[in-house]
Structures are given as C-alpha cells and as structure tokens.
C-alpha cells in the first residue's frame, strides 16, 4: 500500500499536468497602488545607477573601475529584485506579464549570485571591464523593464517602451551574459589561490565543497540555459509585437 500510495501520488503528477486555463485577474486597487510604487522606486533606483555611471565616467575620463561608484545602489536594487521574485512565487504579486516564474527566478538568482558571490566576494575582479559590461546591460534592461511594468499597471503603455523591452534584449542579453561569464572567469584564479568558500576533508561533518569547481560548473550551465531563455524571449517578442500590429490594423 505504501508503494502504491507513493506511486499513486506520482501517477497524479504524471497525469495531472493538464493545466487549467490561466484566469488572470487584474490586481485590486490597493495592490495596484503598491505595485506602482514598487516599480517606480525600482525604475528610479536603476536610473540612479545609470546616472552614477555616467557621472563617474565624465569625472574620471575613462570607463575603467566604474564599479565602485555604483556599488551600493547596485547591491541594494539587485537584491530588491529577490523580494519581487518571492512575492511572485508566493502569489502575493499577481503576474503582470505572462512570464514563467521559473525562468525569472533563475535570472534573479543568477544576478544576485554574480553581485554578491562573485563581484563582492572576489575583490580583485571589481576593476575588471567585464563588470562594467554586465552592469550596463542590467541597468538598461531593468530601467526599461520596471517602467514597462509601471505603465502597464496604469494601463497607459507607450508602444516605444513595449518595443524597447522586447527588442533591446537582443543585444543586451548576450552583452550581459558575456560580461557575467568573463567576470566569473576572471575570478577563478583568485578563488583557487585563496580557497574562498571551500571546505576540504577531513572534517567533523565529512563534507567538502570546492568553490572553484562550482564556479566552473556555473559557467558550463550557461550553455544549455542561455539559449533557452534567449529563444523564449524571441518567441515572446513575436507574440507580443505581432499582437499590437493586428490591433493597429483592425482599428
């Protein structure tokens, strides 16, 4: 009975994957207010980062080592996205756009990982140019994304923002990924040298972890995952932008 019981539940998982048609309810008035405020704050935050980058560039005259000028707001607002992800998963935040929770969770986790576990932890890579590469990519993407959400909530979405969101990623996404990969790669020798976040045998709890190998595995995982996300976005683009075309034609 035990086996068939556990088997029974697994059979349900196999059969029961018929998805109910997603009935998307719009958020209520109070929820909308909160969401608008949240998205406006996030847009402003990333604008601050963008402005900070530009000012530092103008002040220094070169684009090297700009990380330090925007370090704190970057950490704050990138980690803030975790809260957003948690709210989405816990269903407190209704999905404003039909994006897969798993995919966005993945994206947020990888961003937070890069911000804290790589760039913050390995001080030597903070002067690398690859850091600037992904910071710029993230900044532009996030400004557009959060303003997109803000305008969607207010039901007043300018076509330009929608177009930008679903088109600029074509360049920004590979740019960001390159920056991320190059940064991790740059961090590798320092991790190896300092034994950062690594435990070796023998120890009382018989556990070992090699951060160096872990980072290499993370880099390898980009190979299957990045194309999936990229093509998903391309697919979304075709869907969303062709819808608007039809709308315009029918008017």
């Amino acid at each position: 009975m035990a086996a068939s019981g556990s088997g029974g539940s697994r059979a349900d998982n196999g059969y029961g994957s018929q998805q109910q048609p997603r009935r998307r309810k719009g958020p209520g008035a109070l929820a909308t207010a909160y969401l608008v405020i949240y998205n406006v704050v996030m847009t402003a935050g990333w604008l601050v980062i963008a402005v900070g980058l530009v000012r530092a560039y103008l002040a220094k005259g070169s684009y090297h080592s700009l990380y330090y000028s925007i370090e704190k707001p970057l950490k704050f607002f990138q980690t803030g996205a975790l809260l957003e992800e948690y709210l989405l998963i816990a269903k407190y935040l209704p999905g404003i756009v039909p994006s897969s929770v798993v995919l966005t969770a993945f994206q947020v986790m990888s961003r937070v990982f890069l911000t804290w576990a790589v760039t913050h932890s390995v001080k030597e890579v903070q002067t690398e140019d690859s850091v600037l590469l992904f910071v710029v990519a993230w900044t532009i993407t996030e400004i557009i994304r959060y303003s997109f959400y803000t305008f969607s909530l207010l039901n007043h979405l300018p076509y330009l923002i929608k177009w930008a969101r679903y088109t600029l990623f074509i360049i920004l996404y590979p740019m960001g990924v390159s920056g991320e990969l190059l940064t991790i790669y740059a961090a590798l020798p320092f991790v190896r040298q300092s034994g950062l976040y690594s435990i070796s045998l023998p120890n009382k709890y018989n556990f070992s972890f090699d951060y160096y190998t872990f980072l290499i595995l993370v880099m390898i995982s980009y190979i299957p995952i990045f194309p999936q996300l990229y093509f998903h976005m391309l697919h979304q683009r075709r869907k969303v932008l062709s819808h608007t075309e039809e709308h315009k034609k029918s008017e």
Partner: protein, 253 residues
C-alpha cells in the same frame, strides 16, 4: 476531461444505451510500477558497494591502502545495503502494486535523485579521510539500534498495509496488532513514512556526514508531502478513526 477508464473495462459494456465520447491522450513512454521501483532501488545498492570497495578511479590508491577503516564504515555499508535489499524484497513480494504505469520521465527523475545522492553520500563515508562520529561508540550503537528498529517497523507496516483486515467497500484503516511496531498506527496515519524518515535520521547520526543529513532533509520534505496527501485521503474515507491522528510525526504533523 472525464474520469479515467480502468484497463479491464470493455468498451462494449459501456456504450450500451447512450452515446459516449472517448478521449484519447498519448501519455508518452510509460513504465510499470514494479520496473520503476526495482530500477530505483537496485541502483543505490550497487553504487554504494562500488564506493565501498574503493574503486581505484574514485579514491587515491595509496591513501586507500594505508588507511585503517573505522568499524562504523563497515556498519554503514551493511545498514545501507539492508535498507535497499529490504525495499527490493518488499517490492517483489510484499507490495501489491497496481498494474498501472507512470511516465518514463518520472522514473528518470527518481533514479537521478536516488542514484545521485547515493553516489554523493557513499563518496564521503568510504573516503580514506573519513572522520568517525564525535561521540564514538555510544553514538554509533544508539543510531544503529534506532536504524534497525525503524527498518523493522517499516517492514511490518508495509506487511500490514498489504494485507488489510477487510477489503473493498468495507475496508477500514489498518489497526494495530500484537506487534509493537504497528502501534504507531494509533498515533499516525502514515507510519511507513515515519519509519523511513527515522531510518535516514539514524543513518545520518550514525555516520555523522553532512551530505547524508541533506539527503535525509530532502526525504523528510518529500515524505511529508506524500503523507499529507494520504492523510487527507484517509480523512475523507475513514473519518472517525483517523480524526485525531497526525499525518507522519505523532502530535506535531
């Protein structure tokens, strides 16, 4: 769309007086439950033994040869094998598995999980640099004792569930017998999961290995979900008896 048909129902017997619509779905590649469990449990059994004999490709040979092996390593191997041999024998001789099937995808997922974790834990327990438990013989003996008790308990519960006192419409919730291991039925509606969790916690304490603890933690989560589902089913079917019982852990959950 509609309720599922059992394999043995003849379509002619259904469409006697009315017009019916049959929906067909391709469920993809399926495996039988027996195949599923046999594969899932044989893997860990063999994999652990591969690590136990210290294959030269896994561990450094010089280190392996000179190292004295603490008795707990041998005991752990014995307990691990006992656990999976018991599972295999029960799948073959005790469980009355329905003739149903499950998607192949589920079997792959299950095998990856079990086989992967077995490799991970076997690597550390059989490692030349393994550190035996901090509290020495007392910790090992106590944990081994609870492990064996949980294994026995799990076995007796499975036997009790496979031979219910009544069957069909008059089926009632399994009742405790003279066997003390079945007395857990008084407190809990899914004691088999309780004992399974107990086995793995005992194994963790016995080997004092963090990866085993992580595995046990994940098993607890999985077993809790299954127990909760089953408990709800029991509440619907056997309401008066099951009402005051917990799902898996007495009193708490």
């Amino acid at each position: 769309d509609g309720p599922y048909l059992k394999d043995y129902i003849n379509i002619q017997s259904l469409a006697v007086s009315s017009i019916i619509t049959l929906y067909f779905t391709d469920l993809g590649q399926q495996v039988g439950w027996t195949t599923f469990f046999l594969t899932e449990y044989t893997g860990p059994l063999l994999i652990y033994l591969l690590f136990y004999i210290r294959l030269s490709t896994i561990y450094d040979q010089r280190e392996s040869r000179k190292n004295f092996r603490h008795p707990v390593v041998h005991l752990a191997c014995f307990c691990h094998c006992l656990h999976y041999i018991r599972h295999l024998l029960e799948t073959l001789f005790v469980h009355k598995l329905s003739g149903g099937h499950t998607p192949l995808k589920n079997m792959i997922k299950g095998c990856v999980f079990y086989w992967g974790f077995t490799s991970w834990i076997a690597y550390y327990i059989n490692h030349p640099r393994y550190t035996p438990p901090s509290f020495g013989h007392r910790q090992v003996s106590f944990a081994a004792l609870t492990f064996l008790m949980c294994e026995a308990g799990n076995h007796f519960i499975n036997v009790a569930l496979a031979h219910p006192s009544h069957s069909g419409l008059q089926a009632c919730f399994p009742s405790p017998t003279y066997n003390p291991f079945t007395w857990l039925f008084l407190l809990v509606s899914c004691p088999n999961y309780t004992y399974e969790v107990g086995s793995w916690i005992s194994f963790t304490v016995m080997t004092q290995t963090l990866p085993v603890g992580i595995f046990a933690f994940l098993m607890i989560i999985q077993m809790s979900l299954w127990a909760q589902k089953k408990h709800r089913l029991y509440l619907k079917r056997f309401y008066p008896e099951v009402r005051r019982k917990a799902a898996m852990i007495p009193i708490i959950f």
